[in-house]
């Protein structure tokens, strides 16, 4: 796999590779940014910081991990820097005062897909940072091994955090059976 990545990197120049990575991961990066920042303007700043960081880091990519892991590492590192930046200014990146709308108990009163998405996003942003990072990567479809490679923790550690994040999310959102 690594040989393939290196070969692809040699054949593809920096700009072409960058455009491809942006194209492949833009939606995921924007969703990930929404777990670090609720304010739309600041979130856009964070996303742009991530694109710039990706461009700067690309020449150093040697294929020792998958491209997806590489992109998510950069994005999460920028996310942590973003929190650090706003805490320095005594402003939290995420506003805990915003309540999570609860799911309607009646199945007939089901929420729209958009509302469910918003509800889930809010619940995710309420999780402690260590759980939030892990669950966002799970929701993006990364394996436990890949999540461990992004965050620098063991697969067992990932599994424990996922379990805790799920308990917390279920508590916030209610059992999923109520909404289906």
């Amino acid at each position: 796999m690594i040989e393939d990545v290196i070969a692809a990197g040699v054949a593809e120049n920096r700009e072409a590779r960058y455009l491809r990575l942006v194209s492949e991961h833009e939606r995921a990066i924007r969703r990930m940014a929404s777990s670090y920042e609720r304010d739309a303007a600041r979130r856009e700043d964070l996303v742009q910081d991530i694109w710039l960081a990706l461009w700067q880091a690309l020449p150093g990519f040697r294929g020792d991990s998958s491209e997806r892991t590489f992109v998510f590492r950069i994005a999460h590192n920028r996310g942590v820097s973003h929190i650090q930046h706003w805490r320095r200014r005594r402003t939290e990146a995420l506003d805990d005062a915003e309540p999570v709308p609860h799911a309607a108990p009646d199945p007939e009163d089901a929420l729209s897909a958009r509302q469910r998405g918003e509800q889930l996003r809010l619940a995710v942003t309420r999780l402690p940072l260590g759980l939030r990072q892990v669950i966002v990567l799970v929701l993006e479809g990364l394996s436990y091994r890949e999540i461990g490679e992004v965050l620098g923790i063991s697969e067992n550690n990932v599994a424990v955090r996922v379990a805790r994040a799920r308990v917390a999310l279920t508590r916030e959102l209610g059992p999923s059976g109520d909404r289906s």
Binding site: W51, L52, R116, L120, P128, G152
Partner: protein, 198 residues
């Protein structure tokens, strides 16, 4: 994914991944990044050129001047300009280097960087004390060792300069110390938040 993802997690995953986020598109992002990179490079280049020109001029004045007090003043200003230039180079090289290591490594490195800066500040306090210990007797000798008493202007300039530079360095060190203390608290907090759940 996990070998047997259950229904709840799968539902969340579906909801999460279908969330509609406005997209910019790769071409627009590429243009933005090119503009930002150019702006950063121009800013960095301007800062370095201004710092280097100031350093050369001050050093020239310090080395060619005949008045020892002026030589001392220009030398001290050149040292400050040189220090600022080095700090600027370090700061920019850090800012332009994006971390692609794991998030845990990234935070650990940031904490280590803060520790190094703390050590540098302790070193700075030492330099400041040395500066005062060396310059007070030296200025004293320059002013009062001759047969004639110094003029009031020369006295005011020499002591005022030393006091000014010392106060500036003192405020800089105290400011940096406070900034690093805050930075350290924030990073330790983030480190705990990221690892305390297990």
């Amino acid at each position: 994914m996990t070998s047997a993802p259950d229904r709840e997690l799968q539902q969340w995953l579906d909801v999460w991944q279908t969330a509609s986020e406005p997209q910019t598109g790769p071409e627009a992002i590429r243009d933005y990044v090119a503009r930002r990179s150019l702006m950063l490079s121009l800013w960095f280049g301007t800062e370095i050129v201004i710092g280097a020109v100031a350093l050369v001029l001050l050093l020239h004045r310090a080395l060619t001047g005949t008045d020892p007090v002026e030589t001392l003043a220009m030398g001290a200003l050149a040292a400050i300009a040189g220090g600022s230039l080095l700090f600027s180079l370090w700061n920019w090289s850090k800012g332009l280097r994006a971390s692609s290591g794991t998030t845990a490594d990234f935070v650990a490195l940031s904490i280590d960087r803060v520790r190094r800066m703390r050590r540098a500040i302790r070193f700075g306090w030492g330099i400041l004390v040395c500066e005062v210990v060396v310059f007070v007797p030296w200025i004293w000798r320059q002013l009062y060792a001759g047969p004639q008493p110094p003029s009031a202007d020369a006295e005011r300039f020499a002591w005022g300069l030393l006091l000014g530079l010392t106060t500036f360095a003192l405020m800089l060190l105290v400011g940096l110390q406070r900034w690093i203390d805050r930075e350290s608290l924030i990073l330790e907090g983030l480190h705990q938040e990221m690892g305390a759940e297990v």
